[in-house]
Assembly symmetry: C2
């Protein structure tokens, strides 16, 4: 019981048990959780493990802790919706909005990179890049137009495989590259000529352009993307913290 078993299993399990306790005991907002000493006995783990579990709950904004007083249930618990600060594939964003994601391919191009792409991805100008242009649909409605560019070397062949799958998942599965962070610029914009002419978008429809550079867990730039979102369909939320 007290032995360390799998990686992280104990503190994660402790967190879940504390969550269950919160629900079972019908704890209200701003009421105190059991003390750390109590939780040690309840869960039969060390104080360190209890504190790890509480740290997880604090990170998820479910509780707050006050030195000398105790640990308390935070307001609006379990309503923590993901915001833009959380990096998700667009596939997942659409899913979590309650829609069914689908993709309409506009085109795949393999060519030499523009200077902008060379600068952003830090690759050799003589190395080819691959560009995906896709429309992302949420339950059939246009949600966004996405242009993703990365080194062509990531794809051994023209990928029939990605069909409707997230590029994130493809890179992790096939290339063991984990996209961890992105730096995004938010730009309000009117649709490009290409979008009006080829995609039949209204000219006076406002879009949000996310210009993004995606990095893996070691900090290497991997994907440069331009995503034009229709704010009527996808509502942009950001959880900001000091």
């Amino acid at each position: 019981m007290g032995k360390p078993s799998k990686n992280g299993a104990l503190s994660h399990g402790a967190k879940e048990k504390i969550l269950a306790h919160i629900k079972n005991s019908d704890l209200r907002v701003d009421e105190a959780l059991p003390t750390e000493a109590t939780l040690m006995k309840m869960l039969e783990v060390s104080r360190h493990t209890v504190r790890e579990a509480l740290a997880l709950l604090e990170q998820e904004r479910i509780v707050y802790r006050v030195q000398g007083k105790g640990t308390f249930l935070k307001r609006r618990p379990l309503q923590i919706e993901q915001g833009l600060e959380k990096l998700e594939s667009i596939t997942d964003i659409i899913k979590s909005c309650g829609f069914i994601p689908s993709t309409r391919w506009v085109g795949i191009e393999v060519k030499f990179p523009t200077t902008k792409v060379v600068e952003q991805l830090g690759i050799d100008p003589k190395e080819r890049v691959i560009t995906f242009k896709r429309l992302r649909l949420a339950s059939g409605n246009l949600a966004s137009y996405c242009v993703d560019t990365m080194a062509a070397g990531f794809f051994d062949s023209i990928p029939q495989e990605i069909e409707d799958e997230s590029v994130f998942r493809y890179l992790q599965r096939e290339k063991n590259i984990y996209i961890q962070t992105a730096v995004s610029y938010v730009i309000p914009t009117a649709p490009t000529r290409e979008m009006v002419e080829d995609l039949g978008v209204e000219e006076d429809q406002l879009f949000i352009l996310l210009e993004q550079l995606h990095y893996d867990n070691e900090g290497r730039p991997i994907i440069y993307s331009l995503d034009y979102f229709q704010p009527d369909v996808i509502r942009f939320k950001i959880n900001r913290t000091r």
Copy 2:
């Protein structure tokens, strides 16, 4: 030396020493830091403290860790600019963009709340709210138009005091309320009629509207605000993480 002294001093100090070591030893990107065992000896602290320090450096995206291999210097270290996911007062945002912040007051109103405000702030419809309307300037240029609404009870008198000071700092100093988080919606928008007529804004200028609800550290909603930003002046960046 080995005694716990002030709160967090040791692990924080250890972090700073590791940072200094990174600079002194001219460590390059993707090169390994000293192992945890080595750092224990170097810094004369326990492994737990070393790991706390490394966890801080990892959170700040300065290093990454790989089980079984080591801890490595991340790419683009120390280039971590703040993005929108970091909640700052607009005063501070403008400062950190390298501009000199100033404020032009448009008006202060004390009145009964609209239903939207009642719902958002969760206050009594019979309780008065105070609304600040301000233009925020960055080195003289219009950066944003801000409409902030909160319970009038936070202000004992009509505040001459806030003059050019951030509302955040006022609330902390006078009311011991620490604004910790905000939930923001990003909406691309054309200027309102009020902005065109009263403030002389161009009609075809696109704005980003941030509709925000600010919470204190215990999760209580405190400020409801509408901020219209001119994206030409303030560039919106978000650091996204999985």
